[in-house]
């Protein structure tokens, strides 16, 4: 029952907040989310399956027996890392909202805690329907967080966010039910939605065309969430309008629900279809990387810039996911963690600046290093982490993703893939662009001549530079960035077993030794022409 404990504590906390006084809501929320963090760390210590592919902390709860829907939970090493990321970011978000949220406080903190349950549910679900329910449930708190506490354009942003993701994931649900039905037919009428059974069934028993339809259905939901190029337009709006904590959670965890979905479902369920479509997905990811990077370059709004940079960064993560070798996939998983840490921190920093100056316009603000040295230090630190400075976390994952893509050629000896150097080369331009737009931003805002917008006096009671509370939020994030940058092997070793298990069927599919008529060969030829 331990994982259920983790899922239920925030819900109980949310219920407590509803009956408590508004003034202590934030303390309850902080206490509850810190408790969840402590429990999750204890679980991580207790977890015996690090480095293997097994699922631990499993608990079975049967529920809708007629359809085989259960409430089974359990995590493998990858999911547990993301659980830890969630439980770390939530208390920081609560802490970071202490001064920013002044009205409707009870609802705010209650929604944050419900959101935490939903996110943890996504990562720990062992049942497709439980996964879907949690996946959709994340929408509701985020919708309210944006719609009640967001910026000027919040109504439009929240509705667009909701409708995009809701529509996409309905197709995913249809895909899930389709797989479950095919499974039920093969099992003579016994329904099951267990992720493990269905993945095993789908990857081995389904025809190529069926796999393609399922791939399409799954991507409809996950691509919107990640977001991949043509369906990304909800993100800049939602990120910009959301309150600081909302942006942090959106960038830090919610986007990872998409990539985690790809890792958990697309890779194990539909290998044949993925091998065929990986180049197309990679092209979309690369377009996203470059297109979003170019948009970042011309942004004046700092928050919007970081939002677009998320689209660009997640493109690398997608490349890593579909390069089909352990280096790239480990890089992609690491990317999920790293992006959560560094982009989350950037949104915190922008929020802190916004609370002081009430502007995010790069042209009306500048040279803050003179006024706020501590803030500026962290800003430069996290921008460098985000850009990929060796020694910090961003570098490791970006390098692994690109490296994995580079070697993912069809004739690679151990882990053949369907991408190759040309994909990596073009995507790498994105890294250069990222350095450009982020450093230009730092140059304008942190360095140069001091420029402050006209303040109307009674703006805030905050100190000029960061308060101890704000430093306390940033330090753990910075420490983790540094630690992962220096010691990435701790994490890559921990997830190796899971990653290799997921990739196990692929070499055979990409490079069939005897059978020359199967689809992957066609892809391989096309690649050589291109």
């Amino acid at each position: 029952m331990t994982l259920w404990l983790l899922l239920l504590i925030p819900l109980v906390g949310a219920a407590c907040i509803f009956v408590a006084k508004a003034s202590i809501a934030k303390w309850i929320a902080l206490g509850v989310s810190s408790l969840v963090l402590v429990v999750s760390i204890l679980m991580a210590v207790q977890f015996d399956q690090w480095g293997t592919s097994q699922t631990g902390l499993v608990s079975h709860v049967s529920w809708l027996t007629q359809l085989g829907v259960t409430l089974d939970v359990g995590v493998d090493s990858v999911a547990l890392l993301l659980v830890l990321l969630t439980t770390l970011l939530t208390p920081l978000c609560v802490w970071g909202s202490f001064t920013a949220i002044t009205s409707r406080r009870k609802e705010y903190y209650a929604w944050l805690l419900i959101l935490e349950t939903a996110m943890l549910g996504v990562f720990s679900a062992q049942d497709l329907i439980l996964f879907y329910v949690s996946f959709e449930l994340t929408l509701v708190p985020m919708f309210f967080l944006i719609a009640i506490y967001g910026g000027k354009n919040r109504a439009h942003a929240s509705v667009k966010f909701f409708i995009y993701t809701f529509t996409g994931s309905l197709f995913t649900l249809a895909g899930f039910v389709y797989v479950a039905w095919l499974y039920q037919v093969s099992q003579y009428g016994v329904w099951s939605f267990a992720i493990h059974d269905l993945a095993q069934f789908a990857s081995t028993n389904l025809e190529y065309s069926q796999q393609c339809w399922i791939l399409l259905a799954l991507l409809a939901g996950f691509a919107v969430k990640i977001p991949v190029f043509p369906v990304h337009t909800w993100l800049p709006l939602a990120h910009t309008e959301a309150p600081t904590a909302g942006s942090v959670i959106l960038a830090g965890v919610l986007l990872k629900l998409g990539t985690f979905g790809v890792y958990r479902f697309v890779l194990p369920m539909v290998p044949e279809a993925l091998v065929a479509y990986a180049p197309a997905i990679a092209v979309l990811a690369i377009i996203g990387i470059l297109y979003a990077a170019l948009i970042c370059w011309v942004q004046d709004d700092i928050k919007k810039l970081v939002a677009y940079s998320s689209i660009s960064h997640l493109g690398f993560c997608v490349l890593g996911l579909i390069a089909l070798n352990p280096i790239a996939l480990e890089g992609a998983v690491l990317y999920m963690i790293n992006h959560g840490l560094s982009t989350g921190a950037l949104f915190f920093l922008i929020g802190m600046m916004y609370e002081r100056y009430h502007t995010r316009d790069m042209n009306s603000i500048g040279g803050l290093a003179k006024k706020m040295p501590v803030w500026s230090f962290f800003m430069v630190f996290f921008v460098l982490a985000s850009v990929g400075l060796p020694g910090l976390n961003g570098f490791i994952s970006e390098f692994m993703c690109l490296m994995g893509t580079f070697i993912a050629t069809a004739d690679a000896p151990q882990w053949p893939g369907v991408l190759g150097p040309e994909y990596a080369a073009i995507a790498a331009i994105g890294m250069v662009l990222a350095a450009m737009y982020l450093l230009i931003m730092v140059g304008k805002v942190v360095f140069g001549k001091l420029k402050e917008p006209n303040q109307d006096g009674a703006l805030s009671s905050l100190p000029t530079d960061l308060s101890p509370r704000e430093i306390g939020i940033l330090v753990p994030l910075a420490a983790l960035c540094l630690w992962i940058g220096v010691q990435p092997t701790v994490l890559t070793d921990a997830i190796r077993g899971s990653v290799e298990e997921v990739l196990a069927p692929y070499p055979r599919l990409v490079q069939p030794e005897q059978d020359a008529t199967s689809t992957p060969i066609v892809i391989e030829k096309e690649d050589q022409h291109g």
Binding site: E136, F166, L173, W191
Partner: protein, 500 residues
């Protein structure tokens, strides 16, 4: 014969209840008149309680209907949700008149009250739904369907003292008469094709015809006409055009009733007619399936797109109710056991959670008048956060946001549809649900997020009972999933056919 009467005990209880309410409403003492609603609730509860005793295994074994167990499920929930519906109309009837009497401005005259009649008609209509379950021939089915509909015409007319309600009632009545004629014509053709009115005999005749190469054309046309006639009851396209006007014209409490009771009746009748021809190898006869398919698609799309354009809350919910009929038809097309179970479960979920939306509207008023425009609910959370939350929860459930009750209903329907190979139909339903997100979000946004406008300043919660109904129904929407498994097991039991 005695055995048939035995199954009508819940209906008889409601009949006694209807008479009691009708008389009680005319009582000289205000205290009795005011408690007619409680009397109605008590009889509905009694009907509920009687059902486990009526549907014992021995008695069900003697039944000669097509689906002998279906009454156990449908009657129970029709009565249970009926209680919610009575609460929704609590304080609605004769409000101003009773007020005037209490102040001494008017004296009581039996001719001027309609509270008793209203509750009596409501109970009769629910008894009609119950009677459908016991139908063993087409005549019985037709009479039961009319018993459902006729009281609703009057209920629409007397629910509000305004011309809009009169107009709505007239439209409802005339179009209802046309649909009944259509249905009767279909029944006549069915008689022509089979030579009998009795369901169990018709099943054999159809089975024999199918074995010889197909159902007679007369039979197919008859069935199509009957189903089109029934589309009126469930407000499915192309017979849905009356629904927005009537739903807007009637008071919110009556609209909540219209959205559940006649819909349940229509759905039950369609399921029974389809059972006559049967789902041979999980497929209805091609003509019927095609017709239902087109009706379902049109209903889902027209309902949801229509709802996008509305400025009146009740009209919008009217269109939403049309769309939900479309979803349910997926289950009918998919067929037993999962499809029919899904329809039955969905009916209950829809009835229980949809009531909340209408009850919220019913409890509000501005200067003594009922509210209607969407603008009126803008900023409702500042007036009454309980009402606003109920409305939002109900909208979320109707939209199908997990883990609310409505989601599970949709999941069952989608699963049934996919399992019957109707993947395109399910994809259309997915698109339709996505469209519906726009207007349900609007309801949620207006009630929970918007600030008040000058128009909605004067809106306040004036009626206690509808608010209680709304809150209860919202609690069902949240807590319902906990009992989903038992609900589904109950519904599975209901569609068990008798052993040959």
């Amino acid at each position: 014969m005695a055995d048939r009467l035995w199954f009508l005990i819940p209906e008889l209880i409601l009949l006694v209840g209807a008479i009691t309410c009708a008389i009680g409403g005319l009582a000289n003492t205000a205290a009795i008149r005011r408690h007619v609603g409680f009397i109605a609730c008590a009889f509905l509860a009694a009907a509920c309680i009687s059902i486990p005793f009526v549907y014992t295994t021995e008695h069900v074994a003697t039944a000669d209907t097509l689906l002998p167990n279906i009454g156990k499920y449908v009657k129970f929930f029709a009565a249970l949700i009926g209680i919610l519906l009575v609460m929704t109309s609590g304080g609605l009837m004769d409000r101003k008149y009773e007020h005037a009497i209490a102040k001494g401005k008017a004296t009581f005259s039996a001719l001027r009250t309609s509270g008793g009649e209203y509750h009596a008609l409501l109970l009769l209509s629910i008894a009609g739904v119950m009677l459908i379950c016991e139908a063993r021939d087409l005549i019985w089915l037709f009479l039961a369907l009319e018993l459902v509909s006729l009281p609703t015409y009057v209920m629409v007319a007397i629910s509000r003292w305004s011309k809009v309600a009169q107009e709505a009632a007239m439209k409802y009545f005339f179009l209802g008469a046309v649909s009944a004629a259509l249905m009767l014509y279909g029944f006549a053709l069915l008689y022509g094709a089979t030579g009998t009115f009795v369901f169990t005999e018709m099943v054999d005749v159809f089975a024999a015809q199918r074995a010889e190469g197909g159902i007679a054309v007369f039979g197919q046309i008859g069935l199509l006409l009957a189903i089109f006639g029934l589309c009126y009851k469930i407000a499915a396209a192309p017979m849905h055009l009356y629904a927005p006007d009537v739903y807007q014209g009637a008071s919110a409490a009556v609209t909540a009733f219209l959205a559940f009771i006649p819909k349940t009746a229509g759905m039950l009748a369609i399921i029974m007619l389809c059972t006559l021809v049967g789902w041979d190898e999980n497929r209805l006869p091609l003509a019927i399936e095609t017709a239902l398919w087109v009706v379902a698609v049109l209903t889902m799309l027209l309902g949801n797109i229509g709802a996008l354009l509305q400025t009146s809350a009740q009209r919008m919910l009217g269109y939403s109710s049309i769309a939900h009929s479309g979803y349910m038809l997926i289950g009918v097309i998919a067929g037993p056991p999962l499809g029919i179970v899904a329809v039955l479960v969905y009916l209950v979920i829809y009835g229980a959670t949809n009531t909340s939306a209408f009850a919220t509207l019913a409890c509000l008023s501005r200067d003594g008048d009922s509210v209607d425009s969407l603008e009126d609910i803008s900023g409702l959370h500042k007036r009454n956060s309980l009402a606003a939350t109920s409305l939002a929860v109900s909208s979320g459930s109707l939209l199908g946001i997990p883990p609310l009750f409505g989601f599970w209903g949709k999941l069952l329907l989608f699963a049934a549809g996919i399992a019957a190979g109707q993947i395109l139909l399910v994809l259309i339903a997915v698109v339709a649900s996505a469209i519906s997100a726009w207007y349900y979000l609007r309801l949620i946004g207006l009630s929970l997020l918007s600030s008040t406008t000058p128009r909605s300043e004067g809106v306040s919660v004036t009626l206690k009972w509808p608010l209680i109904a709304a809150v209860l129904s919202a609690i069902i929407a949240i807590g319902g999933p906990l009992v989903l498994s038992s609900l589904m097991a109950y519904a599975e039991q209901a569609v068990v056919m008798p052993e040959e």
